[in-house]
């Protein structure tokens, strides 16, 4: 019952992705050019990092509408410190990170302590952060670097790993993935749990390995693996570790699944909520850096509407808005779908008006599907 439903979702996600890719490659052959795919990978890095933070919040059955504004604000704070006040980039980014975590932890604290719906608090955050953001940059365009001098902030989306590093990385990932799968299989057998057939595991690993390798080969044909992709990889790994292997992660699912039971079970609901928001503050800040760097400067529109892309990525990737269900892999796939769509439409020179409409339709469809599927399961 349960597994077949997950399959419906996984399967439709896969079909949708294939259709989108087929359509764009047919309409604009440039869509699959190494250059465009590199751009797509950088865009994916920003959307996906923001979405991974959103995942933690949605797992708790909360929502974060403020992330778009927060992305702009954090990128803006770092840019202003670097460009206007000649701070070193690492120092500027560190301060920005501290501010980001503090703002998010505060929102989490208010939501957990006062039991005000996250929808309202983060809607307030959306407006407040946006106001502060525009104040900080003085409604101007603030470049991420002074003159031609590159810094840690500006290289986030302009630095590419050398070929040897790219290939070593992908080799390392494939080896690590295989080892981890085999280890977990042995463990599951020793617990007496069900395991998938060896053939299935091998073919999954094989396909995943091929996909990784192919991606790197394509990226190498342009300039190599973008630094931002390794940022995404690291964030995704950490969030995966948190959700799958820590007590904190287990509590996220437990609280989102049944908050009253979680309280009775002795779970520190308040601390976990604040913690999840604090981590989302980290991912929002990192996204802010990458998004600002990708634009080359901080402007009033940086990060705008990214909260919707992040929510859509989560929901498309199978995260239940009611809380308690969602995975890192799903969110990555959801973000990939959203970014493929946005990137392809840009290439086709679709008008901004129609892009808004498409974004809205995709978000609505995803939520509709979430509602349909969760209704059937209950």
């Amino acid at each position: 019952m349960k597994s077949s439903q997950i399959n419906v979702r996984d399967f439709s996600l896969f079909i949708a992705l294939a259709l989108i890719w087929a359509f764009f490659s047919w309409q604009v052959p440039d869509f699959v050019s190494p250059r465009n795919l590199t751009m797509l990978s950088i865009e994916l890095s920003t959307t996906a990092v923001a979405s991974l933070g959103m995942l933690l919040i949605i797992l708790l059955a909360h929502i974060d509408l403020s992330v778009g504004s927060a992305i702009g604000l954090m990128g803006g704070v770092a840019s202003v410190l670097i460009f206007r006040h000649q701070w070193s980039a690492p120092a500027a980014m560190l301060l920005s990170l501290v501010v980001g975590v503090a703002l998010y932890a505060t929102m989490g604290w208010v939501i957990a302590r006062e039991r005000i719906p996250a929808f309202i608090i983060t809607l307030g955050g959306l407006l407040i952060f946006k106001g502060i953001f525009w104040k900080v940059i003085g409604n101007q365009t603030i470049p991420v670097k002074t003159g031609d001098k590159d810094n840690l902030l500006s290289i986030l989306t302009t630095y590419y790993l050398p070929a040897w590093a790219g290939y070593s990385l992908v080799a390392l990932i494939i080896v690590a993935l295989t080892a981890a799968r085999i280890y977990s299989r042995i463990k599951r057998c020793s617990y007496g749990f069900e395991v998938e057939s060896g053939e299935l595991m091998f073919s999954k690993l094989f396909v995943a390995g091929q996909a990784f390798l192919l991606s790197v080969i394509v990226l190498e044909r342009f300039r190599g693996v973008p630094l931002s992709v390794t940022v995404l990889g690291s964030v995704a790994f950490v969030i995966w570790l948190i959700t799958n292997h820590t007590r904190f992660g287990r509590y996220l699912y437990a609280i989102g699944g049944n908050e009253e039971a979680a309280i009775i079970s002795g779970i520190p609901v308040r601390a976990v909520t604040i913690g999840a928001f604090a981590i989302a503050g980290v991912t929002a800040t990192i996204t802010g850096f990458m998004q600002t760097a990708y634009g080359g400067a901080s402007t009033t529109t940086t990060g705008e509407l990214m909260e919707l892309d992040a929510i859509a990525s989560c929901v498309i990737g199978g995260t239940a808005l009611a809380g308690g269900h969602g995975t890192v892999l799903g969110v990555l796939a959801g973000a990939f779908l959203i970014d493929s769509l946005m990137n392809g439409m840009t290439l086709m020179a679709v008008s901004p008006e129609m892009k808004f409409v498409t974004r809205g339709v995709v978000l609505t469809l995803a939520v509709w599907m979430d509602v349909r599927l969760s209704r059937r399961s209950s």
Binding site: K2, K187, Y191, G192, F193, E194, H245, T246, R247, F248, R250, Y251, Y253, A254, G257, N258, E260, A261, A262, I263, I264, S265, G266, I267, P268, G324, H325, S377
Partner: protein, 509 residues
Amino acid sequence: MPSNAILETRVLTKRFPGVTALDGVSFYLRPGEVHGLCGENGAGKSTLIKTLSGIHPHGSYEGEILVEGNEARFTGIAEAQAAGIAVIYQELALVNNLTVAENIFLGNEPTRLGLIDWDKVYTDAAKLLKRFKLDIDPAARVGDLGTGLQQLVEIVKALAKKSRILILDEPTAALTEAEVDVLLEIIRGLRDEGVAAIYISHKLDEVFAISDRITVLRDGKSIVTLESAQTNAGEVIRHMVGRPIEDLFPKRQSKPGGTLLSVKNLTVADRHGDTILHDISFEVRAGEVLGIGGLMGSGRSETLMHIFGAWGERLNGDVQMSGKPSPIQNPRKAISEGLVMVTEDRKRYGLNLDKSIGFNLSLSSLEQIGYGFIDRNTEVARNQKIFGLLRVKAPSIETVVGTLSGGNQQKVVIGKALLTGPNIVFLDEPTRGIDVGAKLEVYEFVNQLTGEGKAVVLVSSELPELMGMSDRIVMLAEGHVGGVFMREEATQERLLAAAIKFHKAPVKV
């Protein structure tokens, strides 16, 4: 079977995953008859009602339901209501913020020119209330009435729909004796008008007072139907239990040790500031089962929930654990102090239904296995051990909890509590809605816990269970201690008398 039966079931069978709730139930209801339905919790009474009232739609059960000789295939509650079947549940379905009259006609408002005819709502409600000799103001807010009066309003509401078949599920659980008399009088009046009723109650004296015939359910089967005039309580109980009561509760030797929990003069208010618990005191010793009984709304669950840190604001009183003042402010603190609670509503407070058994089992005790990161080897080993110990009937600890039967779900909740390594275990209605076999296993567990020197506090609404399991019994009545009894001196009559001690009306049992 008589041809004039107004309602009849033929070999009705209803299965849930892992449990057969109804197993070939056949019985019939004559027009103008009050039919008592008796059985222990888990005997299938509520499943039968849900099937008759369309909650379990046609197709989800086997067998036939006949209304006036024709097969009824209800797809939902509305169809059952249209066929004249009204159910009055134990839990109230009234809107507290609306008036009595508004509630009575909720969803059924008389209209004039498309607008609600408020005059008619209030005059008709007043007429109805008068007809049943109820002194209730139709304009009173339902939330301002006592539970007993609310229950009567609920009944009037069902009657306003001109039902021909009335099903009453434990309608008197929250009523005073005087109110019970009013209710029974109403039912007799309706019977004389030709309305048939199915009357479900734990209180056999009521069943005998009102019913013409009595059907006993046990383990989902209809055991026997008796003419009330030709039988007695003893015979009905024998059919209900199916074996002598002594065998149901496994014997154990209790040798109580030192006091683990002592509660003195506890007075607690709910979040509206109303005092719910008054001056409650009791002690629990190591190796002892303390039973807490009382009617619905007497404050049993609230007492446990408060000590566990999950409910209410303490106005006065003192809780000590192992002789030291207890700093419990929340369940988390309680668990770390060695106190754990298995709550009454396991679906709401106990489980993540769409997660695995293992996920649920280890939830309260993750802090004991590794810092931050979960040591999965230890987790799985601990879960497997308790899974085997509790004899949960499931393929593995990866099975989703929601697919288990009530008894097995309850075992998972108990397992989660035990994994915290408690000294004191609170069990709130641990056997509600689970089958007899699982009940016995729960009882064995309780004995095992006390054998290990733990203290158990058992809340139950079933007097035989309280008397069979407890070393001492505290009966609560309207938030006060109505009486404390040693196991030897407890009888159903004495316990009941203590449970209704603070009711205003005089009581005859």
